[in-house]
């Protein structure tokens, strides 16, 4: 018998699958995409706070530059444009510090970038209506900020850059800039945006790759290598999380502690390889019991498993446990060395958190399940006991 574990942890993970599939178009499958965007939303918040301070400071610096180089009769108009742009920037900054829904972040960021871009284009247009050598390069910096500094996705940043470029061309036409110069200037901005877009693609690709790797690492560290169930460490963590949640929301929480009967004898009789296979098949049964999002099936020892059922009444837990015992018996893995039955069987101890007078803590709950399991063993195995 081959003892290659059938369950290759890597292939089963959505993150690993996405990694092998690739994401050249910068898009994950829907569920991962949502997860990715949510995480980006959180991590961009810090970046945006820095960027907005930086941006407002630069905008004010440009006011100073205006005073130095602007034609004096246009200075008033320039300042008016600068002030109008400053309003949404400051409002956005206020929201960033006071907190706002995550889904608003990227639209508002885009809005700010476009407003700043169009404001800058307006200033350039006004300048060009008097003096054709008025500098316009600042526009490119706005798009660059969109590509690299504010955490927009590539598609969003490109949209901003295109709107700014079109706005620029429209305003320049209004200002009566000669076609040739307009062409040269637009060409320059286009080249800059092209470079920015390619760089933005690379940045987003790296960020996405990074996202998948971190999530995959976490999964690997939390899984049991043989069965693909959660390992002891993540079980302990999850149990204490659920315990707190159950306390807060006054919901039920049950622990099913399971032990494979006479497993030592099975291993000695059939060999480790067969033992591993048996554990894998039992693990599949357990996994199917813990199907709801907050439930968990874990391998907590050599042949010991645990199932956490959240928001379940004691009667439900009992029913699930009975099903488990029956399903494992029905796997019909023959066990010649067992004194209980001719097939591999499971003993289960159940303990539930009580609403009226709950156990002291999650460890007490676990200890209760352990005692119940002991009773099941004493009572002849292949059965469920509860306390």
């Amino acid at each position: 018998m081959e003892i290659v574990s059938r369950r290759q942890t890597h292939d089963d993970s959505a993150y690993a699958r996405q990694k092998t599939q690739g994401f050249r178009r910068l898009r994950f499958e829907p569920k991962l995409e949502d997860e990715f965007r949510e995480q980006q939303g959180y991590s961009n918040l810090g970046l945006l706070r820095i960027s907005i301070v930086f941006g407002v400071a630069l905008w004010l610096l440009f006011c100073v530059v205006d005073i130095l180089i602007a034609p004096s009769d246009l200075l008033g108009l320039f300042m008016a444009v600068r002030a109008v742009v400053l309003v949404p920037l400051l409002l956005f900054a206020a929201l960033l510090w006071r907190g706002m829904p995550l889904y608003l972040i990227s639209p508002l960021t885009m809005l700010c970038i476009v407003v700043v871009g169009l404001g800058a284009a307006a200033v350039v247009g006004l300048g060009h209506s008097r003096d054709l050598s008025f500098p316009y390069e600042g526009l490119l910096l706005v798009s660059m900020a969109g590509f690299f500094l504010v955490g927009l996705r590539l598609a969003e940043a490109v949209l901003c850059a295109v709107m700014i470029l079109l706005g620029f061309i429209a305003i320049e036409l209004w200002a009566g800039v000669p076609r040739l110069q307009l062409l040269t200037n637009a060409l320059f901005l286009l080249c800059g945006n092209l470079i920015g877009a390619v760089g933005g693609y690379m940045l987003e690709f790296k960020t996405r790759e990074q996202f998948l790797t971190v999530r995959l690492n976490r999964e690997l560290a939390e899984q049991d290598g043989l069965t693909g169930l959660s390992n002891r460490r993540s079980f302990d963590q999850h149990l204490s999380t659920l315990w707190q949640q159950a306390e807060r929301d006054e919901r039920g929480l049950s622990v099913l502690l399971c032990d494979v009967d006479h497993f030592k004898a099975f291993n000695d009789h059939y060999g480790h390889a067969a033992g591993d296979l048996a554990l894998q098949r039992i693990a599949e049964v357990l996994q199917s019991t813990a199907r709801r999002p907050l439930d968990m099936a874990a391998r907590v020892g050599g042949e010991e498993f645990a199932v956490l059922l959240y928001d379940s009444e004691p009667a439900d837990a009992q029913r699930h446990a009975l099903q488990l015992v029956e399903q494992v018996r029905h796997l019909a893995i023959s066990h010649a060395a067992s004194s209980t039955r001719a097939v591999v069987t499971l003993s289960v101890g159940v303990a539930s958190r009580l609403h009226d007078h709950p156990q002291e803590n999650e460890q007490a709950l676990l200890a209760q399940a352990d005692r119940a399991l002991y009773r099941a063993k004493e009572g002849g195995r292949d059965q469920v006991q509860r306390i």
């Binding site: 081959e2 003892i3 290659v4 574990s5 942890t9 890597h10 930086f54 630069l58 054709l132 050598s133 500098p135 390069e137 600042g138 490119l140 910096l141 660059m144 900020a145 590509f147 690299f148 500094l149 040739l180 110069q181 040269t184 060409l187 320059f188 080249c191 800059g192 092209l194 470079i195 920015g196 390619v198 760089g199 690379m202 940045l203 790296k206 790759e209 990074q210 790797t213 971190v214 995959l216 690492n217 976490r218 690997l220 560290a221 939390e222 290598g225 043989l226 390992n231 002891r232 460490r233 963590q237 030592k264 000695d268 060999g271 480790h272 390889a273 591993d276 020892g301 050599g302 042949e303």
Partner: protein, 397 residues
Amino acid sequence: MLTRYHELLSDIPDNPFAQQLQAGFPLLRFQPRLEKLYCQYLAVAAIRQRRIAILLALVIWGMFVLSDFWRLRSVLVMEVWPQELYWLLYGRWIVFAGLASCVPVLLLPRWERFSLALTPAVIIGGAWSVVVINLLYGELGFSYSLSGLILMVIAIFFPLGMTFHRSLLMAFVLVVGAHVLGVLVAGKAFLPSFQVNSFYLILAVLVCACGRYLQDHTQREQFLNRHLLNYLAERDSLTGLHNRRSLEFMAREWLQQVSGQSIAVGFCLFDVDHFKAYNDSCGHEAGDQVLKLVAQALNDGTRRPQDIAARIGGEEFAVIVHDTNKNELFNLAEQLRVRVEALSLRHPGLPGKQVVTLSAGVAVSSRDDNFTSLYQRADAALYAAKHAGRNRVEQSE
């Protein structure tokens, strides 16, 4: 989520990648050994980016070559071309030819290694030629702008395989060089007329450097995480030894290598005696601690770099040894058994010395062994050791 990831990192003992991730790297510098590894990785990883960049540069520069004909059309029809026009066109085309000649460097694998060293030279050469060419435009009486330099600054901070620090240095060289060159070509009048351009240039350096900082930070994080992923995929999370998947992979590899040769692969299987009883009486926490210490002892006792110690089940461990014989392997297993016994970990409820002990079964590969048969023979020997009273090594025939 991030805090949990950090908790995870602190559980990984002695891994330089995890340590670096935990320590952070705000200045974009790893500890020397990792930094070297990262630079090597970066040079290779960015080869695709350099290919894209050179094509992009060719396209953009080509657009400027074409726009020359349009912008200079009034001078081009003159009977006698002014000297500056020759210089201008030569300059433009030489750079184009230079860019084109970089293409084979990037496409031929044999020359690929030059591409990283060439990158800053190409960008800075291009930038300085932008200054000269545009000043020549000025000499010919055209309006001109040096905003092309901004594109070059963006290129310098492009993720082309240079580290952040190197890019920053190159940007400095580019900007200062452009000013010096401007003064040399156009005389003292250059600086005052270049004021606004300088301002935007420096702003561009600032904005692009910030972007590049973020990019390099992400890339470094990715580098560490990827190495960590490899590590996690082949290690057991509790003990840090190799896991079963990794052991099996290596053993199969070795057996394939030595097949047909007279070299043998040794396989030792260890099992902690009465571990279940220990767990039941002392609790899982203490049980884990014992497993960690046993793993440590096995790892310390397996000194040869090729030998691999692994945890392959709850309380089961294995050591595989490359190029060994029966006696040597038996002695190694015996040494390891003694080493664990010498830890004197108290195991109450046991007869005799009441310390944690190991039983071991060893097998040396013969000519037609595959992994499964070797494993099964070691397992049979382990079974024999258990039956012969535990805390001993048995070898298969």
